[in-house]
Symmetry: D3
């Protein structure tokens, strides 16, 4: 069976440090199960959190758009946990029902046309090729 979930009270110091940073950064008072599961392997917990914090920070793309991209990818991969958690995160960042509807529509169409282009072996137009 898989490893369990590590709760804060039973966590070693290096895990607590990451949990504390997650709670502070996100202004929440408990971490969700994803982090408790990763805590079984502290180096993966620490590296994953620090990478995610950097990647999802405001930048050239704003946080709401980043959350919607995350949801589109999670939907394409069929990760139930990720869909559930990032739908909530996107909602908090401002996603409306209308936006969720459009996001799913775009995600669905991309999956459809990806297969049409692949299955019909469409050659890449000269205009779309990267320069040699």
């Amino acid at each position: 069976m898989t490893s369990g979930l590590i709760e804060y009270d039973e966590a070693p110091p290096e895990v607590r440090a990451v949990f504390d940073d997650i709670m502070t950064t996100r202004k929440i008072d408990r971490v969700n199960n994803f982090w408790k599961a990763l805590a079984v392997h502290p180096p993966t917990l620490k590296r994953t959190w620090e990478s995610l914090k950097e990647v999802m920070a405001p930048g050239a793309i704003d946080p709401l758009v980043k959350e919607m991209i995350y949801l589109a990818v999670s939907t394409t991969n069929g990760c139930g946990y990720c869909i559930a958690s990032h739908t909530v995160a996107a909602r908090k960042a401002g996603m409306t029902d209308e936006m969720l509807g459009e996001l799913m529509a775009v995600t669905g169409m991309a999956n459809e046309t990806n297969r049409l282009a692949t299955g019909l072996q469409v050659p890449i137009d000269q205009a779309f090729r990267r320069p040699e």
Copy 2:
């Protein structure tokens, strides 16, 4: 072998009508190979174009963001044709190198954490569940 590409000059009227609408809508003077390949089956050409036109139109999500979502999904699915064509489309809609870098970073992280959550069989937190 797969069907070939249907050029405008040899296309039947119902195909030309779709090609004309694509060129008018996108303000371009030739359609790309994807549409020429779909033209082998006119009902699929027409339905796919009309769906795509509706889905990618400005709405609650703006066209640049829609193109970036398309690129994130195409990247996740590994569709070479779609990545090439939608990278160009996103560039035209305003995507900078910086934005492409962040888009890939988010797409990559989502693919990574999707597998961590799935492989560790993380149970969905009560707070993320849809109401019964």
Copy 3:
């Protein structure tokens, strides 16, 4: 780099025996590259060929339909080699342009609705559940 392709003339007896059976069964006079690549590992060559021969034989589902299912799956997985080879195989078994068009349409729609159902976390209807 990956292993190369094993040609008939340089193949050991257990590989030649499989190559011979492929050519006899399919009534062709040379095997395609897939088998030459698998020949680097004779047990995998033999097992894969015998499994494929059994699975693709006429049964409750006819060979043309089996080839179309193979093409739909290969398209969904984005396997370029498999799409190319099974499109040819399906053509030989009787697939017309019209059928290829419909096959791609169904494959595309399934990929689209798969993501809509997953992304919206649609609960399975009682009527669709397997009996406990």
Copy 4:
């Protein structure tokens, strides 16, 4: 959290119109959860239903075969909802236990050989290439 399910009684007119058409076309007296979930975004509901109705109608490929292709794709993508609903639909269209067994066997083999061809980087045979 994700949007909920829209029941007929609370649905706006444009949603009811689609629900009515689904029930009439399929000769059933209630729609399944997939459509109730899509109803949160009426344009996606309408477009998806009309596309699906067109694609799954009898044509060059018969409806039972289309349902089996749908099930093969849904299985490859791992969409639990879609597998459950299309298994029921394929059964209604005439799929026997024997056919389901063969369908899964073909789907499984295609997934296996897709990876063998990809992982061994098998070059496409000249005979399988599309004409330039």
Copy 5:
């Protein structure tokens, strides 16, 4: 709905023979649900078991490593059943918490960099190409 699970007591002789071989080979006294589900189609049950027995036997790669590879693939594909059963199998073969943590870390990173390489359309270095 899908086919059910075939229990030993109700199984026909060719199914019992496979169940017996599974139990003998694995030194267990009951088969798990995967085999009971496959038993609905005896030829698929027999072929799958014989293939798996051959592939997972000790060889140039040891059984524990084979189980970890199986888990990495199942995680990438998002197969919940397979993740659960192969996590248990890998544990029995000697996988520790530390190894599971590293396995997930490698699997996650591979999924991430696979998308970065694909999305940025990285051309294959001359040094990595297979000889023509």
Copy 6:
């Protein structure tokens, strides 16, 4: 079109620092295209390299096994670049033809049985479930 490849001579200092560390760590005198492509977005280059260096270092799982897991995942995802580069890396770490053959056999079987378990909706055995 996608961003190009950044060569060492034209790279800014923060990119050169990463390139230098890659060359030192791997004892090579030039970086491969993957890193040159990532260099378009220096933070992603730096984070990805540091994560990969940590994850692929010797640990509870040895480097050859990690490379084989990477290859299995890349094969499952169909990333051509990654398959080519990690096949070379695995060879350098000691993978023989025999091991590559077995690796592909296991990867192929996992992909096959993943779909059989998913498509037949096999319920997880009590013995495989994580404790509540």
